[in-house]
């Protein structure tokens, strides 16, 4: 394979993987690195009394986390919901691999449906933002974070 052809093939492959990872993060299902559904369900049940199958992946929920974090002790995280403020009842956040998967909950009653904080992650795992709407739906956004050194 000459150099030109190699470049063409490899850029295509890279673009393909990037696209695929974006797609899975939007759909929030299967194939995320470090997934631990059993542990996640434990946290979901304790906090909102639901399991992962009761949640619907939604584009309205925008979860911003770095794809890699050097230290799991301090991972910046941002959640923004593209819905009117009065429709958002609560925002919850979970991490699959943490000893206690529930990270935080926020109940907005006058602020915009936005929240930013810094979290601890024990190991490489998906972070899940779960939005509880006023009409009783649960919306989900997931993204995997690669953690070099655990922070729990």
């Amino acid at each position: 394979m000459d150099r030109r052809q190699f470049l063409r093939v490899s850029t295509g492959a890279v673009a393909g993987t990037v696209l695929a990872s974006q797609l899975t993060s939007v759909l929030g299902q299967g194939g995320l690195e470090g997934e631990d559904i059993a542990n996640l369900n434990k946290g979901l049940q304790q906090t909102i009394g639901r399991s992962i199958t009761d949640l619907t992946a939604a584009k309205e929920v925008r979860l911003v986390v770095p794809s890699t974090a050097e230290s799991g002790a301090n991972v910046p995280l941002e959640i923004e919901v593209g819905l009117p403020a009065e429709q958002v009842k609560a925002i919850h956040c979970f991490s699959d691999q943490n000893p206690s998967p529930h990270l935080f909950s926020i109940i907005p009653s006058g602020v915009l449906p936005f929240y930013a904080t810094r979290v601890r992650l024990a190991a490489t795992s998906p972070v899940r933002a779960v939005v509880e709407t006023a009409d009783g739906r649960y919306l989900l956004a997931s993204q995997s974070v690669r953690v070099a050194v655990g922070g729990c």
Partner: protein
């Protein structure tokens, strides 16, 4: 000792109707309860478990952080700056310690 809190607005003086970000920083170790000290004993969990954000006495946001929030945590919110007012933040940790801080939001 009361928990130290810092409140910053971004932009510092928003225009009326503009979105303003409220950054709240607290000084707290946020012990998750999974760490061991030098002698190998578990350090008991002690993290902020309740944050209340008020605007002129009305509760506008309530946060319940779990053990998975970093030390010296940041809590950031956004709201529409419709009028000037006083923002009050109160926090409480698992040991029952509390902290309180107020900041005046001024419009341009």
């Amino acid at each position: 000792m009361a928990i130290n809190i810092l409140i910053r607005f971004n932009p510092a003086r928003p225009r009326a109707g503009e979105e303003v970000r409220i950054n709240v920083l607290a000084q707290h170790p946020m012990e998750p309860g999974t760490r061991r000290d030098a002698a190998g004993n578990l350090v008991p969990a002690n993290h902020i478990s309740e944050v209340n954000l008020q605007m002129d006495g009305r509760l506008i946001a309530q946060v319940k952080p779990g053990p998975g929030t970093s030390a010296n945590p940041l809590f950031a919110f956004k709201m529409k700056a419709t009028r000037a007012g006083q923002v009050r933040v109160t926090v409480r940790d698992l040991n029952g310690q509390t902290g309180e801080r107020t900041a005046d939001l001024a419009l341009v």
